[in-house]
Structure formats: structure tokens, C-alpha cells
């Protein structure tokens, strides 16, 4: 991970509508390169090849939830260094505290504003530990 910046984002989301909105927000408005995944398995399969700068993870996913994916990513030395940001509708304070404690770089609440999502991610990106 060079200090170059945020370009490639792996986005995991099972809801197709939200997937689409986020894609538009990140690609068209944010100008990022996006890899969309509909499930945890897909994400773990794709992450090596895509080599994202950041992974944006939904929490409530069928079969494998966001936290499980995070664990898997952290166990794999090849992916352990990739910052993970959760984007979730589960916004209870205690949940959020847990996400951070488990290693999420930050948490974005749904509903999110597609017009500012990209900027938000850039801000978060800057706070990562090198």
C-alpha cells in the first residue's frame, strides 16, 4: 500500500438496489474503481485478484456476515493490511463499539448520502495507520 491514495474499493453488499446506488456514488461521483460482491464468499474469492485499497463491508449479509468476513480477511496475511470500513444499518452504539474494537477503520451509517459518500471515505482513508 503506497501512500498514493484511495483508488480501488471492494464493496460487499447483498441488496442490489443499494449496491447500485453505492456503485454510482463511488464510481460516477467518487471516481473510484469498484469491485462489487454480493456475498462474503465472493468477496474473499475476489479480494486477492482485485487487490483493493479499501474494503467497504455491509454487516447484515446472508450466510457470512460482515464481522466474519473481517475475521477471515484479518487471518489472511495477504489481506490483513487492507483497511475495512463497515457500512451498516445496525447503528446501535454497542454494535459500533464492537466493530471498531474488532478492527474496522470506521463505520458509515445507512442511509448514507451518495453525494458525499466518496468524500467521506477519503476522509476515513486518511485516518488509517500506515
Amino acid at each position: 500500500m503506497t501512500a498514493g491514495g484511495l483508488h480501488k474499493i471492494l464493496y460487499v453488499e447483498d441488496d442490489r438496489d443499494i449496491q447500485r446506488i453505492a456503485q454510482l456514488a463511488l464510481e460516477r461521483i467518487g471516481g473510484f474503481e469498484i469491485k462489487l460482491c454480493g456475498s462474503g464468499q465472493e468477496a474473499l474469492a475476489e479480494v486477492g485478484g482485485f487487490a483493493p485499497d479499501l474494503i467497504l463491508l455491509d454487516i447484515m449479509l446472508p450466510e457470512m456476515d460482515g464481522l466474519t468476513i473481517l475475521d477471515a480477511l484479518q487471518r489472511d496475511a495477504g489481506t490483513a493490511g487492507i483497511p475495512v470500513v463497515f457500512m451498516t444499518a445496525r447503528v446501535q452504539a454497542e454494535d459500533v463499539a464492537e466493530y471498531r474494537q474488532r478492527g474496522a477503520l470506521d463505520v458509515i451509517f445507512k442511509p448514507f448520502d451518495p453525494m458525499t459518500l466518496a468524500d467521506r471515505l477519503r476522509e476515513i482513508w486518511l485516518t488509517r495507520q500506515p
Binding site: 446501535q92 442511509p111 448520502d113
Partner: protein, 1076 residues
């Protein structure tokens, strides 16, 4: 004894109609006691006569020497005797002393009269020595004429013999008839207030006292001789003259009771009385007129009084018996009268049998209860049948052998509660106490039984039993567990629900300490709580209720609502606890909570898509000139936002519940907030056909709030008011200042809120659950959120409502006085340092703001662990303390503070929502609590308490570093111990060591002992580390040689001059003077 027998005999002999038995008895006894009273008085007169006879004879009949004697006797008998005279043997008065209107007059010799013609003198001449003549009861006659006003008179005459076969003269005492009549009247009812009449007739049937004064004493007048009783009431006279000594008859429908008194029966034979009229006889008549009779009949209801009176009576009877046997006549008379009075008036029946089992006495109450069945000779075994005495609740006659009075005749003291007397088809339950009466030698002479009508008692008992049964049934059928404990905490009673709920059976619990139902730590604390309550009467649970966990037999815990009621009974102090299993409620609450979380998530997902799409679409279309599309997009966007807000609302509740809601407190002008909110919601009001009218007079008052949250709360109140207002009725919004409080009121003219709904109003889902009929949309969460939020901002919310008139919701929040709106961080001020211990950050911040603008420095600790750390690192002038810290129960925290020397005396200001409750649970003096403040926080009170507290603390402040230089170890130890609460003392035993310490660190004070060698080598810099001020030095010395010291010394003292207190005081003074 005879006398008593006569009394009882008199009373008892009567056999008359049932209805009048009681009256007759009462009157007879009254009349008879009147007779007794007369008799005693007349005996006194006879005695006086005899005394006079003796003295007159002894003085050899010399009038001059006798006059003073006569005079003094009369003086002692004013109102009783009219005259006392001495006549010579021819009837001439030798001495005459008169009662002239209360003054004794000795009549001069020239006014003395010749009485030889008077009938009583003529009769007296025939008297033998020792005999006394009693005249007729008639009127006084002076010089041949009846004295006016009438003076009724009884004269007693006795001859005086002085060594002579013929009487030398006569002693005459005129006994006033008025005294006699008064004595009678005294024993009768007070006729002035009743329609009773007292009549008195003589043996000829003439009125002595009667209804018509004109007809009284008619026999004294030639022209009235025909006016006897027979003239008016021939039937009365016909009855009375031939009747035995007492009787009763109806006269003009009134009841007439009479006693006849034969004069010759008044006195015993030994008295030697001769009567002017051998037939002298008086009829004493009590006439109860018809109206009075009915009145009495109506009032004839046996007042059920304390049954124990009966026992008292038995003993008084015994006492009377004892006293009687002492043979003291005076006492005898008094008691006799008292006894009869008491007996006849008490509402308890008294019945006396002699030792042959024959009736001896019965008072009027007894007569009223048993009727007139017990009279004459009778067989005691027949008593149950005669009086219809039954065993309670059965048709069997009471066995005679078990009658208390029968037992009493055998020497037992017996009681029966199971008797019923049948009267006119009614069973009257009675209670009987009986006891034997014994003479001096222990022989049973009589048996007395006291009995009372206990119908009311029985009824009450039945009612109590019924209630008890009902109560018991309620307890038994209750689904709540109920446990009753005594003041030692031991279980006295449980209901079946308790057994099934917690898996115990009765024997395992009864008599055991109730704490076995409790988990730790309550288990070990319970006895203490109970003791504390019994000592102080203070509890935070009794009458309040709380949630507890109950330990089941299998060790599992069941959450329960516990309500405790204190039950105080004579000699008993019980506590009743009702436990309601709330597992189901808890489960529902949990489900509800999860439901909210899930719903909020599920709603957010589509909302994310909708609002995201709309924003992107708006972005796509932003360049295009399609106004309608843009307008529609805006509408869709706004409503999507509103939906998001609603979801947020739901979530707010969870956040509030979790204490996770963030409040950004800052000072804000209330009028701005209110004005802005009203303006923003005006269109909402219009949608509901109403409008908001703002009346604002708070001026430039500020509050410290989270502005967004405050606006959210006010918006909620406004939208509620708009929703519930009838169209066209404006909602008034009023903000006003009330002292240190600002109040914003939102008043609608809607339907109002029913009183029954009041307690639910600020709860979750209030509207949804309880006001279906008026449902106006909304989540039912708004007021709950509003209340929680406003309380977190230090305010309160409440309402007043009147059905049909509308509701007034108001928010109260303290005025923020600081000019500086921005809170400053600690270390800002220079004033005393205060520790704010408060787990809610926003409240902590509020407290900090309040303290700092009053010049205090405030540090915060958010839990007990932090508190400990802060207290170690820093000394505080005072501390504000929240009682609900997340990591420690406050009682334990208090205990910790108390055990620590550094905090035991630290002033504490409790600032807590549970301050009021906790206040009652703290034992006095545990720690130094200065004040108890509830939330919302009253800023003035807080500042005042903190100021006072810190001032009190400053007196022993600051904690200083002291260097103590002495080679006397014992002395050093003493100083360290003495100062341990106030200062850290470093002990050094040599000047070299002290110099090293002084170079390493700074001290507030150096104490030096003059005994130390090389003291002049002490290297004291003239200034301390900060280069500001010399360190004060205190020299303590055995000798007064301090002048040799080379450095500045502020205090020289001899060790011997000091006691501990003054030493400490001096040290503190030095430290403080240095600090200034």
C-alpha cells in the same frame, strides 16, 4: 352484713312484670338507698340527743353552762337542725338555740316560750329514761301558727333525769325536714331534667311532697283536711295503703314505683324510740310519667361494653366484702352506697347466689337479660331451663354443672363464652364470669356471676372471621407470591403461589430468615436493612416497590417486582412482601427491544435505497429545465428524510436506554430556540388547521442544552399540540422566567388527557397502547424521548390537563447565568479544586460549567475507578458524587470513602437522581455529606453547597509536604501520626540527609528540633524551588536557644509548650501563610 342482706333482700324480693323489672329494681334500690341514708342520718340525730341528755344531766341541769354546748352543736349542724332546746319538766324553754339563716342564735331568756301545750311535750312527759320520742313529720308551729314558709320538721325529745324519779327536763332537737327530703332526693334521678316526679306521702295519705304544693301538708290545716292522695288518686291510695313495703303500678299510663317506710322499722329495737304517731309511715314514690317512660323504654338497650368490667366487678365485690368484714361502719356506709350505685348502673349483669344456691341479688342489667325468672325458691339445676340458657349454636340447654356460677359455688373461678340466652325467640350470646365469695375463714358464703350481652362482640368476631377467610382465600388464590415476615426477618406466613413459584414447600420456609430467598449481596445485607428500618423508620423500599431477583430452591433466580407493606399490630410488627414474577414482562421487553432494533434496520435498508436514488436522480436532473420533475423529486426527498427521522426516533429510544445518546451541551438563548422551533413548525400547524401563537418574555436568558435535542423536544410538543387541537383553536406557546427556572409551555385547546392516562403518558408506546380512540398517528415514543432528553439536559417536562379544556405541556430548565457561553476546560479557574464524579458525560459537563463559572476548578471522574485514581493524585476541596456509577454500588463506595483517611472528611455533595431515596439510607456521619441534590440540578444550590463545603475543607487545607528534622525517633513518629491526615511528613535524622532532601524536592514547611547537632549547617536557600518565597521553618526546642539560628525562623516553640492540637494549628497556620 344484715344491712347488706336487707339491701339485697329488698332489691331482690321483687317479683313483678318483666317489662318493669328493671325500672322497679332501679327505683327500689334508689328509694331504698334513700331510706338507708335517712336512717343513718336519723341515727346521728338520736346520737346527738343522747349526748345532749348525758351532758345536760352531767352539768346538773345548769342552763348557763349548757348554752355554749348547745350553741356549738347547732353550729355543727347548720342546715340539719333548726333548733336545739332544753325544756324544764313543765315545758318551759330553758335554752333555745336557733338557726337564723345559717347563723346560730341563742334566744334571750325573755323570749323563751312555754311549750307545755305541744303534743310532743305532752307525750314526752310519759317517757322513761333512755327513751326518745320521735314526733310526727309535720310543719313547725310557732306560737300556735304554722310557720311560713313551711318548715317541715321532725322533733326528737328525750327526758333528762338528774337523781330524781321524775324527769328534770327535756332535750329537744328539731331536725329539719328539708334535710330529710334532700337526702332522699339525692338518691333519686335528677328530676329537674326529666319528667320523673318524686312524691312523698304519710300514713294518712297526705302529701308531704307532691305534684301540687298547695296540697302538701294538708293535715296541718283545718280547711285542707280532705286533700289527701285519695282525693286525686283514689286507686293509688287504695293500692298503696294495703300494699306490702314496695310495689309498682301504672298511673295515668306512667309508671309509679313506691316504697313504704315504717318509722318503727327504721331503727332497731335497741334504739328505744317512742313514736308520736305509732303508725308513722312514709311512702316514697317515684313517678315516671308516660312520656318519660317511653323515652326510657326506647333507651333500653344494653350497651355492650367491655366484658372485662365484669371481672372488675367481681373484684370490687370481693373488696367490698373484705372492707365490710373490717367492721368499719363508716366505710361500710360509703361502700354500700357506692356499691349499689355502681351495681345498678353498670351495663353488666350481676347475679349473686347464696351458698344454698338461692338468689341473693341481681342488678337491673341482670334483670333485663334474664328477665324475672329467678325469684323465690328455685332449683339451680333448673336455671338453664328457667332462663332458657343454651350452648352456643346448639339447641341443647346449657348443662347446669357447667354453669360458671355453679362452679363458683364449688370454689372455682369460672368463665363461659359459649352461652346464649333465648329471649323472645332471639338468642343473645352472653359471656359469664363467676367467682366464689368467701368469709374470713374461707367458707364459701356466696357466688357472684357477672355477665354481659356480647352480641356485638360476636358479630364483630364473625365479621373478622369472615374477612379473615376472605383474605386467606385471596392470599391462597393469588398468583403473586406473598410472604409475611416479622421484625427479625423470619418468615411467618407464605401463600401457595410462593411455594410453586420458587419451588419451596412451606416447612422449608416458615420460621426461616427471609434472606434465604435472596441472592447475594442482598442476602447478607437484609438483616442490616431491616434493623436500620426498625431503628430509623426509614426505608426506600416500603411502599415504593422495586425489581428484585428471588433465589429459587434450585438456585436459579427469578426477576420479580417486590412490593412491601408494613403491618403494625399491637405487639407485632410485620412486613408483607408481594412478589410478582416478571419473567414474562422481561421477555416481552427484550423482544420489544430486539424488535425495535430489527425494524429500524429493516426500514433503513429500503430507505437507504430510496433516499440514495432520489439524491442521485436529483443530481442527474440538476442541469435540466424540468421544474415539475424537480418539484416532485424534492417532495419525495423531503419525505424520505422524514421517514429517516422517524426511524432515528425509534432508535433514539434505544440509545437513551443504553445511555449512549450524545449530547452536545452549549449555552443558547432560549428565545432563539423557541422562536426558531415555532417558526419551523408553523406550516405543520397549518396542515392541522391551527397555528402557534408565541408569547415570549424570557428576554436574554440562556440555557445550557443540546440545541438540536432541545428543538427536537419542543417540536414534539408542538406537533402533538397541533395534532390534538380542534381546527381554528390556536396553540399558545409561552416561555417565561420563574426565578432561576425557564419554562416553555405549549397549551392546546384539545380534548385533554384523562387522569387515568397520566402515569402512562411519558412511557414508551403510550399512545399506541392507551389511546386507541384518539389515535392521531405518531409512534407513541415522542414524549418518552422528550422526557428522557430534557432530563438529560438538566430540565424536566410535565403537563397539566383538563378534560374538554385542553392540555398544557411545559419544559422547565435552569437559567444559565454565565456570560461566557462556551464552557471552559478545567484548570481554567484558580479557585478551590472540585472533583465531579458523574458517569454521564453531559451531566458532568454541565456540572463543570456551573462550577467553573463560579470560579471553581473542576476535574471529572466518570466511575469509581477513575475516582480512586483522581483522589490519589490530587487533593480536592470537595466532591460532587453521582450515586449511580457504573462500576460500584454507592453504599460500597461510601464505605470505601469512609475507610480512607483522606476522604473520610472530604465534603461530598451528592448529585443524583436517587438522592432523595438514598438520603434516608445513609447512616449519619458515615462520610461528610454536605448536601443532597436531585436532578435536574439546581445551580444555585449546587454552588452554595460547593462553596460552603470547600470553605470548610480549606480550613484544613492544603495537604502539605513537611520535612521533619529530629534524631528523636519517638518524637518523629508522634509528629507523623499527628499530621497524617493533613500533611505528608518526611523524617530526616541528620542535617546532611535533610540537605540532600531539600535539594531534591520542595517542602511547604520545615520543622527542626534544636537538639540536633550541626544544625547551623542546614542549607536552607532563602527561596523555595519556585523562587518565590522562603520556606517557613518552625523550630521546636527543649531550651530557649533559638536566637543562634542563622536562617529565617517563623516560629520557635518549646516542645513542652505544645499539646497536639496547638501544634497542628500552628503548622497549618504556617503552611497557609506561605501559600498566600
Amino acid at each position: 352484713m344484715l344491712l347488706l342482706a336487707a339491701v339485697f333482700g329488698y332489691v331482690y324480693q321483687q317479683r313483678v312484670e318483666v317489662d318493669n323489672a328493671r325500672l322497679r329494681n332501679a327505683t327500689s334500690v334508689a328509694l331504698h338507698s334513700a331510706v338507708l341514708s335517712i336512717r343513718f342520718k336519723l341515727k346521728e340525730v338520736l346520737n346527738d340527743v343522747r349526748v345532749l341528755v348525758e351532758l345536760s344531766a352531767g352539768s346538773r341541769f345548769r342552763p348557763d353552762s349548757l348554752k355554749p354546748l348547745y350553741r356549738s352543736l347547732l353550729k355543727n349542724r347548720i342546715g340539719v337542725y333548726d333548733q336545739i332546746r332544753l325544756l324544764d319538766r313543765d315545758g318551759n324553754e330553758l335554752i333555745r338555740v336557733n338557726d337564723e339563716n345559717g347563723r346560730v342564735q341563742v334566744v334571750p331568756d325573755d323570749q323563751l316560750q312555754d311549750k307545755s301545750d305541744y303534743y310532743y311535750f305532752r307525750q314526752a312527759r310519759t317517757l322513761n329514761a333512755g327513751e326518745i320520742l320521735m314526733s310526727q313529720f309535720d310543719l313547725n308551729v310557732e306560737r300556735g301558727k304554722v310557720e311560713v314558709p313551711y318548715t317541715p320538721m321532725l322533733r326528737f325529745i328525750a327526758p333528762v333525769y338528774v337523781n330524781d324519779p321524775e324527769a328534770s327536763g327535756f332535750v329537744v332537737i328539731n331536725y329539719l325536714g328539708t334535710d330529710l327530703l334532700q337526702r332522699i332526693r339525692k338518691h333519686l334521678p335528677d328530676y329537674t331534667e326529666t319528667l320523673n316526679q318524686f312524691w312523698m306521702l304519710n300514713d294518712q295519705g297526705y302529701w308531704i311532697q307532691g305534684p301540687d304544693p298547695e296540697k302538701e301538708w294538708a293535715f296541718m290545716f283545718e280547711d285542707k283536711r280532705h286533700l289527701t292522695v285519695a282525693y286525686d288518686y283514689p286507686e293509688l291510695w287504695a293500692t298503696v295503703r294495703t300494699a306490702p313495703e314496695r310495689g309498682q303500678m301504672f298511673l295515668n299510663r306512667g309508671l309509679l314505683t313506691y316504697v313504704s317506710v315504717h318509722a318503727h322499722r327504721l331503727f332497731g329495737r335497741g334504739e328505744n324510740i317512742v313514736y308520736s304517731n305509732p303508725n308513722e309511715r312514709w311512702f316514697l314514690v317515684d313517678y315516671l310519667t308516660e312520656p318519660q317512660l317511653s323515652l326510657r323504654r326506647n333507651g333500653l338497650s344494653g350497651d355492650l361494653l367491655q366484658a372485662f368490667i365484669a371481672i372488675a366487678l367481681v373484684s370490687s365485690l370481693l373488696l367490698w366484702w373484705t372492707i365490710r368484714s373490717m367492721g368499719q361502719r363508716w366505710l361500710e356506709q360509703q361502700y354500700e352506697k357506692l356499691f349499689i350505685d355502681v351495681m345498678e348502673r353498670i351495663p353488666t349483669g350481676v347475679f349473686v347466689l347464696d351458698n344454698r344456691g338461692q338468689p341473693f341479688y341481681m342488678n337491673q342489667t341482670a334483670a333485663a337479660i334474664v328477665g324475672d325468672k329467678l325469684a323465690g325458691d328455685f332449683d339451680i339445676d333448673a336455671l338453664p331451663e328457667l332462663c332458657q340458657v343454651y350452648r352456643e349454636g346448639s339447641d341443647r340447654l346449657y348443662p347446669p354443672a357447667e354453669l360458671p356460677i355453679v362452679k363458683a359455688l364449688q370454689g372455682e373461678t369460672a368463665t363461659a363464652y359459649d352461652m346464649e340466652i333465648k329471649r323472645a325467640d332471639q338468642r343473645i350470646p352472653i359471656q359469664v364470669n363467676a367467682a366464689p365469695i368467701k368469709d374470713e375463714r374461707g367458707r364459701i358464703t356466696h357466688a357472684v356471676a357477672a355477665f354481659s350481652d356480647i352480641s356485638r362482640l360476636k358479630q364483630q368476631q364473625a365479621r373478622i372471621r369472615e374477612e379473615e377467610t376472605l383474605h386467606r382465600a385471596l392470599l391462597d388464590s393469588s398468583v403473586d407470591a406473598i410472604v409475611t415476615i416479622d421484625e427479625r426477618g423470619l418468615i411467618r406466613r407464605i401463600n401457595p403461589a410462593l411455594e410453586t413459584m420458587f419451588g419451596y414447600n412451606g416447612e422449608e420456609l416458615l420460621g426461616k430468615n427471609v434472606n434465604l430467598l435472596m441472592p447475594e449481596p442482598y442476602r447478607s445485607q437484609h438483616d442490616g436493612y431491616l434493623r436500620n428500618f426498625l431503628e430509623t423508620g426509614r426505608s426506600k423500599i416500603i411502599g415504593v416497590g422495586r425489581e428484585v431477583e428471588v433465589r429459587c430452591k434450585d438456585g436459579s433466580l427469578i426477576p420479580c417486582d417486590l412490593t412491601i407493606t408494613e403491618v403494625k399490630l399491637p405487639g407485632k410488627h410485620l412486613f408483607k412482601g408481594i412478589l410478582r414474577d416478571i419473567r414474562e414482562r422481561k421477555r416481552i421487553e427484550q423482544m420489544q427491544k430486539e424488535f425495535i432494533a430489527t425494524v429500524s434496520h429493516e426500514l433503513r435498508t429500503p430507505l437507504t435505497a430510496i433516499s440514495g436514488s432520489l439524491k442521485l436522480l436529483a443530481n442527474e436532473l440538476s442541469g435540466e429545465a424540468n421544474p415539475l420533475a424537480n418539484e416532485l423529486l424534492e417532495i419525495a426527498g423531503t419525505n424520505a428524510e422524514r421517514l429517516i427521522l422517524l426511524v432515528n426516533d425509534i432508535l433514539d429510544i434505544e440509545k437513551l436506554a443504553a445511555g449512549a445518546m450524545k449530547f452536545t451541551l452549549e449555552a443558547a438563548r432560549l428565545s432563539d430556540l423557541v422562536g426558531r422551533t415555532v417558526a419551523a413548525n408553523q406550516s405543520y400547524a397549518e396542515q392541522h388547521g391551527t397555528r402557534f401563537e408565541l408569547l415570549e418574555n424570557t428576554g436574554d436568558a440562556d440555557v445550557v442544552v443540546d440545541k438540536d435535542r432541545f428543538v427536537q423536544v419542543l417540536t414534539n410538543l408542538l406537533s402533538n399540540a397541533a395534532k390534538f387541537s380542534p381546527p381554528g383553536r390556536p396553540v399558545k406557546v409561552l416561555s417565561e422566567r420563574d426565578g432561576d427556572l425557564l419554562r416553555v409551555t405549549v397549551a392546546d385547546q384539545g380534548p385533554g388527557i384523562p387522569e387515568s392516562f397520566k402515569e402512562h403518558l411519558f412511557k414508551k408506546f403510550a399512545q399506541a397502547e392507551h389511546a386507541d380512540s384518539q389515535r392521531k398517528g405518531g409512534t407513541g415514543l415522542g414524549l418518552y424521548i422528550a422526557k428522557s432528553m430534557i432530563e438529560r439536559m438538566g430540565g424536566r417536562i410535565d403537563y397539566e390537563s383538563e378534560i374538554g379544556r385542553g392540555s398544557r405541556f411545559y419544559i422547565e430548565i435552569p437559567v444559565y447565568h454565565g456570560a461566557d457561553a462556551k464552557p471552559t476546560l478545567s484548570n481554567a479557574g484558580t479557585g478551590p479544586r472540585i472533583l465531579v464524579c458523574e458517569d454521564d458525560r453531559d451531566v458532568a459537563k454541565l456540572l463543570t460549567i456551573m462550577l467553573e463559572k463560579s470560579g471553581f476548578r473542576a476535574d471529572t471522574a466518570s466511575n469509581a475507578a477513575e475516582l480512586r485514581k483522581m483522589l490519589e493524585g490530587q487533593d480536592y476541596a470537595a466532591m460532587t458524587l453521582d450515586l449511580m456509577l457504573p462500576d460500584m454500588h454507592w453504599p460500597a463506595l461510601f464505605e470505601e470513602l469512609r475507610r480512607n483517611d483522606r476522604t473520610r472528611h472530604m465534603p461530598v455533595i451528592v448529585v443524583s437522581a436517587i438522592a432523595e431515596e438514598a438520603k434516608h439510607e445513609v447512616s449519619v456521619g458515615a462520610i461528610n455529606i454536605f448536601d443532597w441534590l436531585s436532578k435536574p440540578i439546581d445551580e444555585h444550590r449546587l454552588i452554595r453547597a460547593v462553596s460552603e463545603a470547600s470553605a470548610s475543607k480549606t480550613q484544613s487545607e492544603p495537604r502539605a509536604n513537611i520535612l521533619y528534622l529530629d534524631d528523636d525517633r519517638a518524637q518523629a513518629r508522634k509528629i507523623v501520626a499527628l499530621l497524617q491526615h493533613r500533611a505528608d511528613v518526611v523524617v530526616s535524622r541528620s542535617v546532611g540527609d535533610a540537605n540532600r532532601l531539600l535539594s531534591e524536592r520542595s517542602f511547604h514547611l520545615i520543622i527542626v528540633s534544636m537538639n540536633l547537632p550541626n544544625i547551623s549547617e542546614l542549607s536552607l536557600h532563602p527561596e523555595d524551588d519556585n523562587g518565590l518565597r522562603p520556606i517557613p521553618v518552625m523550630v521546636v526546642s527543649g531550651e530557649n536557644n533559638a536566637q543562634k539560628i542563622l536562617f529565617e525562623v517563623q516560629q520557635i516553640s518549646r516542645k513542652s509548650q505544645y499539646n497536639d492540637e496547638s501544634l497542628v494549628a500552628t503548622i497549618q497556620r504556617l503552611i497557609r501563610s506561605n501559600a498566600k
